[in-house]
Structures are given as structure tokens and as C-alpha cells.
């Protein structure tokens, strides 16, 4: 090992060791099973008018009839155009808000930075349905609390209208901001401070330094954030369904929903629609790779000091703090308070003295009156969230290493395979797993395993981008130095990369864990009596029309997740991981 290491030239990367090869092969097998099989099933189904399982489904005769049906109608193209506007505007807003918060929290001496960071992330925990309904209750023209206040103060009725295209953009932007924040803050934690200091010494102010030094250094994270924000907004469903329906704005997901939601589901058409997303994701992934192709430019974590130092904002720190507080109030505070308020009411009504008198804990009591109803699914979700997040992060750390730190032929296939599921809407992915395990006689239907396996596939692409942005910042000189000292592949990976990837790993773990907790569509498709998850209960409560009980459950879930994250932080800290999410 040491001998071969000594033969490396500057700028080259270490060769793969045999242990590495085994890991790569294992990764390919795992990805092929987790991603390729459902993906092939979906592509295959899109070329068939016969349902999976029916005679003839496996025959090698194909048709483009589904494609003609899906793309031959003008509504599809109108919805696609709306989707591009919606996704572009929401992504841009979320990106700027998230980046601003990440920068102020991680890189400046703004007061209350940690609190603001925590509140921003707290938003991810609140289920999307609750957030959207909270905004309806806040800014609906007829019943919106804000409209009542504006009318009382300024005499302008129905000033805000959440049921509009801009209402959709607003809610979606706030929904996506924590994702941008997580990705950008992980990258900002790892910036080499000497470059910013050099800029300051050269006389550049805070803004020029941010624009010319900080921003280019976080390009991979920015590109990853833009990529994920855009795709996730294209895929978003709750906001378009609950607000877009009223606003008469069709987007891609609602179009797909309305065209395929009749029984029996038209699997051919559903799969065909997801091919568009697959194509779009691949184009965006290509652009991303082009943007970050010169990986060495972003390597800020070297063998020398890399601990970032905070920028002194002077008097501006208070203004920045106020602005951040306003932002996090809209992102998390307002929906959380609405959720808390609703959870204490027998029937939702705008707050008045009379209504406040009716406040009660009955919604919480009802939830606890039958322990197994709410508590077992919460436990199931905890198990699924923690295990899915841990396994996914370990997988993507290894994938990211081979993609970014080796010259392994075809390594981008690993990236493609791990990223491809982003193109699959949850409903299609859930169906693919259902069909797969109905057809493959493994006894996992009705267990947590089938949901866990689907979660692995679902969250790989997101987790990969979290870790990749951190991975490209790590200079190979560290591994080269270790190799010279005789370290093997696994030792280097474990002792060098994993600790240095902490910001990305922790951010990704948090993101996956919380989203696994919240995930509805897949859980609903694969749930049976013994593997119900927290989100299935949310759907139960939502379907049964109890927004008050739903809110109480949301508050309960918020509390549990806060506890879980705190435990995770403490455990991480014990093993030397000190970054907080």
C-alpha cells in the first residue's frame, strides 16, 4: 500500500484497493436491486397496455400508446408550462431564503444564530398537509386570520389570497427553504476561512467577499440545492392539490393525479408520466455535473486548518437577526402556532375571546385514549426513520467516495443509479414496490421491511446530494497522506472521510429521518394492520376530517422528533461529531 502510494503523482487519486472493489460491487448490487428493478418495472410498464401480472405482461411486445395518450393532450403541455414557472419561482425564492439563513447562521456573528437555525429546521418536522392547511387558515380570503387583521387595521377586505399562483409559490418556497438551508449550511461549515480573510485583507467588504469568494466556493452545494429544490417542487403535490385546485392552476403532479386516479389505476399511463420526470432529472443531473466538473476547485478541506471563522457584521448583525427572525416566523413559527392553536380547539375558528374560552385538551386525550392507535405507528416511524436514515447515509457516503474520489470507470453510473429515483413520484415508486413484492415471493408484505426498503430508494438521491457537496470539498491530499502512512482504504474512509463529512452526513441524516417520518404515499400503499406509520395516522385524521386532532398529532410528532434529533446530536457528539443540525 505504502509503496503504491509513493508512486502517486500530485493531483492524481489513489487507486482502488481490493476491499474497495468489493464495496463497489456490493453497492452496484444494492443499487441494482433497490433502484434498477423498480425502474425497469416502470419503464417496462410504460411500454405496455397490459397491467403487471396479467398474461402477456412479460412478453417482448411493446407499444407507445401510453406515450401518445399522455403527451397528446394540450392540458399536459399547459400543466408542464405552469410547472416550470411554479418550480422555477419557488426554487429561486427558497434558494435565496435558505442561503441567506445558512450564511447568517453559519458564517456571521448574528445574535441568536443557533436558535434561528433550529427553528428553520423545525419546519421540516411539521407535515406538509398541516402547513398547507395552516396557510389556508392564515391567508384564505374569507377566513384567513391575517386578512381579518388587515381588514380590521386598514379596512381592506380579502387583501391576501392564498388560493392563487403566487400563494402556491409562497407556500412552496417556505416549504423548500429548510432544504436549501440544510444543504448550504453544510457546505458553509466547511469553507476555508483563509480565502475570505485574504479577500478582507485586500479591502473587499462583506458583500463582495460573499459574492466573489464564498459563493464560488459553495458552487457544488448551490448547484445541488438548486437541482433538488427544482425537482422536488416539480414533484410536490400537497400545495398544488390543496391550493392549486382552488386557484384553477394545474401543474404536472395534479394533472397526473387527475388522469390516473381512477380505479383501476392506469399503470401504463402513470409510468409514462414518471418517464418525463426521469428525463428532466437526468438533464438537470448532467448540468450539475458540468457545473462541478472541476472538483478540485472546491476542495477547501485540506491538511491545513479548515475551521471556518465567523464574519463580523458590525451593526448590521441586529438588522440581519431581525430579518432572519421574520423569515423563520413565516417558515416555522406561524404554521406551528396555527397547529398548536388548532390542536386546542374543539372546532377551528379564527381567534376571538369567545373562541379562546373554548380551548381544551380533548384532542390530545382522544389520541391517547387508545394507545396503540397513535403510539404504535409513532414507534414504527421512529424505527423506520432512524434505520432508513442511518443506512441511506452510510450507502451514500460510500457511493459519493467512489464517485468523487476515485477514477473508477463508470463511477458516474453509481451516481446515476442512486439519483434516478428522484424522478419517480412516490405513488409510482410505492406501486412498483408493491408489485415487486407481490410478484417476488419474499415474505415482507405487511412488515416494516417493505416500507424501509422503499424509503431507502426514495431518499437515496437527496442524501447523495447532501454528502456529495461535502465530499467534493475534501482534498485528496489527506487520503494520500494517510496512504503514505500505510492506511488502507477502509481505514482512510472511516478515519478521514467519515469525520470530515460530518456536516453533510448529519444534515442528510436529519433530512432523511424526518422525511421518512412524514412520508405518506409510499407508507399508505404498503401499509397493513401491523406496519402502519405516523403519516398513515395523519392521513386517517385528515380523511376523517379532524384537523384539530391532526394538529394535536402534529404537535406530538414535532415533540418526538425534536427529542430524537437531540439524542442523535448527543450520540454524535460522544463519537466526536460536534456539528449540530
Amino acid at each position: 500500500m505504502a509503496t503504491s502510494s509513493l508512486r502517486w503523482e500530485a493531483g492524481t487519486r489513489p487507486p482502488l484497493m481490493s476491499g474497495g472493489r468489493i464495496v463497489v460491487i456490493s453497492l452496484v448490487v444494492i443499487l441494482a436491486y433497490q433502484v434498477l428493478v423498480p425502474l425497469l418495472l416502470i419503464i417496462w410498464t410504460s411500454l405496455k397496455t397490459i397491467r403487471p401480472g396479467e398474461p402477456g405482461f412479460l412478453e417482448l411486445s411493446f407499444t407507445l400508446a401510453n406515450y401518445a395518450r399522455a403527451y397528446g393532450i394540450s392540458e399536459f403541455w399547459e400543466a408542464s408550462l405552469n410547472t416550470l414557472y411554479f418550480a422555477f419561482l419557488s426554487s429561486v425564492c427558497a434558494f435565496f431564503c435558505g442561503t441567506f439563513l445558512a450564511w447568517t447562521v453559519e458564517r456571521t456573528n448574528m445574535p441568536l444564530a443557533r436558535l434561528i437555525g433550529m427553528i428553520t429546521l423545525g419546519r421540516i418536522i411539521i407535515p406538509g398537509v398541516i402547513i398547507t392547511i395552516s396557510w389556508i387558515l392564515t391567508a384564505s380570503p374569507s377566513i384567513g386570520v391575517l386578512n381579518h387583521i388587515i381588514n380590521a387595521l386598514a379596512g381592506v377586505p380579502r387583501f391576501l389570497n392564498i388560493y392563487s399562483f403566487w400563494g402556491m409559490v409562497w407556500v412552496q418556497s417556505l416549504e423548500m427553504t429548510p432544504l436549501a438551508y440544510l444543504l448550504m449550511s453544510a457546505a458553509m461549515k466547511s469553507i476555508d476561512p483563509r480565502l475570505e480573510e485574504a479577500s478582507a485583507i485586500a479591502g473587499a467588504g462583506t458583500w463582495p467577499t460573499f459574492r466573489r469568494v464564498t459563493l464560488p466556493l459553495i458552487l457544488p452545494a448551490a448547484a445541488a440545492a438548486a437541482l433538488l429544490l427544482f425537482i422536488q417542487t416539480v414533484e410536490s403535490f400537497e400545495v398544488p392539490l390543496l391550493l392549486g385546485g382552488r386557484a384553477r392552476v394545474a401543474v404536472y403532479t395534479t394533472q397526473v393525479y387527475f388522469n390516473t386516479s381512477r380505479t383501476p389505476t392506469d399503470w401504463g399511463l402513470s409510468s409514462t408520466y414518471s418517464i418525463v420526470l426521469l428525463f428532466l432529472s437526468m438533464v438537470l443531473l448532467y448540468i450539475y455535473f458540468q457545473l462541478v466538473r472541476h472538483g478540485e476547485r472546491y476542495q477547501t478541506i485540506t491538511g491545513k486548518d479548515y475551521r471556518p471563522r465567523r464574519i463580523d457584521l458590525g451593526g448590521w448583525k441586529y438588522i440581519t437577526c431581525a430579518l432572519s427572525l421574520v423569515l423563520v416566523f413565516f417558515i416555522t413559527g406561524l404554521p406551528f402556532l396555527t397547529m398548536l392553536y388548532a390542536s386546542l380547539l374543539p372546532r377551528f375558528r379564527p381567534p376571538t375571546a369567545e373562541v379562546l374560552e373554548t380551548m381544551t385538551l380533548i384532542n390530545y386525550k382522544t389520541l391517547f385514549s387508545e394507545g396503540s392507535y397513535a403510539l404504535k405507528p409513532l414507534w414504527n416511524s421512529t424505527l423506520l426513520g432512524v434505520s432508513a436514515a442511518s443506512i441511506v447515509m452510510l450507502l451514500v457516503a460510500a457511493i459519493s467516495y467512489f464517485v468523487h474520489k476515485t477514477r473508477l470507470g463508470g463511477r458516474k453510473i453509481l451516481d446515476f443509479l442512486a439519483f434516478a429515483p428522484i424522478a419517480l413520484p412516490s405513488v409510482v415508486l410505492g406501486s412498483a414496490f408493491l408489485w415487486l413484492y407481490l410478484l417476488v415471493p419474499l415474505p415482507i408484505i405487511g412488515t416494516l421491511s417493505i416500507i424501509g426498503l422503499a424509503y431507502l430508494t426514495r431518499y437515496l438521491p437527496f442524501a447523495l446530494r447532501f454528502v456529495s457537496t461535502s465530499m467534493v470539498q475534501i482534498h485528496t491530499e489527506l487520503e494520500e497522506a494517510a496512504a503514505v502512512a500505510g492506511g488502507g482504504w477502509w481505514r482512510n474512509f472511516y478515519h478521514i472521510y467519515l469525520p470530515l463529512l460530518r456536516p453533510g452526513l448529519m444534515a442528510g441524516w436529519f433530512w432523511v429521518m424526518v422525511h421518512a417520518y412524514r412520508e405518506l404515499t409510499i407508507s399508505l400503499m404498503l401499509a397493513r394492520s401491523s406496519n402502519r406509520t405516523a403519516s398513515v395516522i395523519i392521513f386517517d385524521l385528515w380523511s376523517n376530517g379532524s384537523f384539530q386532532q391532526l394538529s394535536a398529532f402534529g404537535v406530538l410528532m414535532f415533540t418526538i422528533l425534536i427529542i430524537l434529533v437531540s439524542i442523535a446530536q448527543n450520540v454524535s457528539a460522544r463519537y466526536g461529531i460536534q456539528e449540530r443540525v
Binding site: 452496484v28 372546532r347 410478484l439 400503499m525 394492520s529 385524521l541
Partner: protein, 359 residues
């Protein structure tokens, strides 16, 4: 490396393909034959045989389309009466239940014994011949006004009924200004104030039975011009209306509003009972390939028992063997079962053209 990837890929495809062709296994002895034989027995002997058989089976896989607590209460009541049968219950919506059942049976996995669905949502399952015919004396208890829900061929067993009707917020509309008929919803004073869910087969079928195709299309056209609110989720829409978000529910279950009114008499809710109320049955179907035919039959019979019907009454749904908990007898009830695929397809298209098309 590339070769290794290729080999692994091929192995996985071969594994899946092999599995797909081998999982279809033959069904057990026909449940239908058993039910036909049992139907010839006197009622008490039939029941005894069912109980004995169910005791041996000891288990039942049931998909309920009621959700949450009410579904569990319903099953608990059965388990209390027949403690020797353990019910594994999944509770999902009617359309999801049908979809999953079809998927399981198509794949040759007989995981569900019985499921309950809204009758209008059953067409696809019946078409695929997945249901066991189940003649049962239990349906004799069904009240006269609901007997049209009984299926002559015994493919389903009705056990409750659900209503679709017009209701409104009494804070926003005074009773004398409230709509009286379905066509009243087209009046200018209700412009932008009437809400519907996205089109559902069960609603389309009801409209067709009530008005006939021509009138439905006319109604859809005038509704479309009145800019209705289209929002997913019956109960959420009702909650929003009661909060004052909009004035009228063009189509919704009444029981949600009645439930609110029961808890809080000040709830601003009223039903329009001058307009016909659409009603369809919720019914049990038994999988043709059920693995627990006795327990399945026992459960289906039990749904029409006094215990089960009282529970339906308590939760403000429509029982079939006793009087409705809140609807008067003199309302105009439009009962219906399954409407042809071609008709609902045409009505869905009419909806899309007049109402459902989003910009």
C-alpha cells in the same frame, strides 16, 4: 467491473422474471361452492356450520374502507362477539382498497379475504370476476326502503348506506336564501361559493340516476359557469365551509356536519332536504380465493346484526335494518348501485370539459 455489473443486472432480472411466472398458484377449494351448499341449510344449522368453520380458521384478513377509530370499533365489536376469530384489518379508502385487491389477485397472492367498498366503486372488481357469490339470509333484515341495494346475484352484501347531498353554512346563507334544488347551485348568488371534490365515480353515478345523462351535462355546464370550488377531501371541505371559507357544499356527506352540530349546537350547518339526496350502499365482498371462507361469511353476516347496525347508527352513518339516525323518512332518496363504465366515462369527460379543467 462493467462485466460484473452486467452479470448482476441479468441475475436480478432473471430472478424477478422467474418469480413472476411461478407465483400464480391454484386457488383452494371454491368458496362459492361452499356458500351455495350452506345456503341450502336451515338458518340455525348454517350459522352453526359457519361458527365451527370460523373457529378452526381462527383468522380473517379484512380491508375496511372506514378509517381510524370507527373502523377499529367496528372490528372490535365483531371480535367481542366471536373472540375465536382474530381480524387482521387494514383501513384504506374505497378506491385504494379496490386497487390493492386487484393487484394482489392479479399477482396470485390471496392476501385479502373480505373487503368493504362503496358499491359504485366495485365495477372493476366485478368485471374481473374476483368475487365469490354469497347468498345469505342476513339481507332479509334490510328495511324495505333500502332493498334496492340488495344484489340479485349475491356478489355483494350491503350493510350500510352513505349519502351525498347539498348543505350550507347558516352564518353565510339564511335558510330562506338557501338552494332548494341541484340546479339552484347554478344561481349567480352562489357564484364561487359552491365546493365539490374532484369528480368521483360514485357521485357521477348518482347524478346520472337522479337526472339522466342529458340533464347531468346541462347541470355540469351551468355549474362550470358558476365557478365552483374544487378541493380534494370531503371532510376537510366541510370543515372549511363551517369555518366560513365558503358557503355551500355542492356534494358532501352530511354526517360530518351533523357530527359537528352534535358536539357544538352553534355550528352553522344545515342540510338541504328539499333536493334529492343521493345514496349508495357500502357493501361487503368476499374474495373468490378467500383463505378463510367460514370466517369471511361469519363477518359478512354479522355486519347486518343488531350490534353492527347500532354502531352504524351511533356514528351517524346510514344503517340498513333500523331507522336512520338523523334523516327524516320523507326525504327524496335516490338509491343506486353500479352505473355502466361507458356512462361514467362520458360523465367524467363532461365534468372535465365544464368544471374540472384547470388552466
Amino acid at each position: 467491473m462493467t462485466k460484473a455489473v452486467r452479470i448482476v443486472g441479468l441475475a436480478i432480472i432473471a430472478f424477478v422474471a422467474g418469480s413472476m411466472s411461478s407465483v400464480c398458484f391454484a386457488a383452494e377449494a371454491s368458496a362459492e361452492q361452499l356458500y351455495a351448499t350452506l345456503a341450502k341449510l336451515p338458518a340455525d344449522q348454517r350459522e352453526k356450520r359457519l361458527e365451527e368453520g370460523a373457529r378452526k380458521e381462527g383468522k380473517l384478513n379484512f380491508v375496511h374502507t372506514w378509517r381510524g377509530k370507527i373502523a377499529r370499533d367496528h372490528v372490535n365489536l365483531f371480535e367481542k362477539r366471536y373472540p375465536f376469530v382474530k381480524v387482521e384489518m387494514g383501513d384504506i379508502g374505497s378506491q385504494d382498497a379496490a386497487e390493492r385487491f386487484i393487484a394482489e389477485e392479479t399477482a396470485g397472492r390471496h392476501l385479502t379475504d373480505i373487503l368493504t367498498l362503496g358499491v359504485p366503486d366495485m365495477a372493476v372488481i366485478l368485471k374481473q370476476n374476483l368475487v365469490a357469490k354469497f347468498p345469505t339470509p342476513a339481507t332479509k333484515k334490510i328495511l324495505k326502503q333500502y332493498q334496492s341495494f340488495i344484489e340479485p346475484e349475491n356478489r355483494w352484501t350491503p350493510w350500510y348506506w352513505a349519502e351525498h347531498g347539498i348543505s350550507y353554512n347558516t352564518d353565510l346563507i339564511k335558510p330562506d336564501k338557501a338552494p332548494k334544488t341541484w340546479f339552484d347551485l347554478c344561481k349567480p348568488e352562489f357564484k364561487g361559493q359552491v365546493s365539490f371534490d374532484p369528480p368521483e365515480t360514485r357521485f357521477m353515478a348518482g347524478l346520472h340516476v337522479m337526472m339522466g345523462e342529458g340533464k347531468v351535462k346541462e347541470w355540469l355546464e351551468c355549474m362550470g359557469q358558476n365557478q365552483p370550488i374544487i378541493q380534494q377531501g370531503h371532510t376537510q371541505r366541510m370543515e372549511l365551509m363551517l369555518t366560513g371559507d365558503h358557503a355551500v357544499q355542492g356534494d358532501n356527506y352530511f354526517y360530518v356536519g351533523v357530527e359537528h352540530k352534535k358536539k357544538d349546537p352553534k355550528t352553522p350547518f344545515a342540510m338541504v332536504l328539499t333536493a334529492p339526496v343521493l345514496s349508495f350502499a357500502g357493501a361487503m365482498i368476499i374474495n373468490k380465493n378467500t383463505q378463510h371462507p367460514y370466517a369471511s361469511a361469519l363477518f359478512v353476516d354479522w355486519t347486518l346484526s343488531q350490534d353492527s347496525q347500532n354502531l352504524i347508527n351511533d356514528i351517524l352513518r346510514g344503517p340498513l335494518t333500523i331507522k336512520h339516525p338523523y334523516l327524516p323518512d320523507n326525504i327524496k332518496l335516490v338509491t343506486y348501485n353500479i352505473v355502466g363504465d361507458d356512462i361514467t366515462k362520458r360523465l367524467h369527460e363532461a365534468w372535465n370539459q365544464s368544471i374540472g379543467r384547470l388552466k
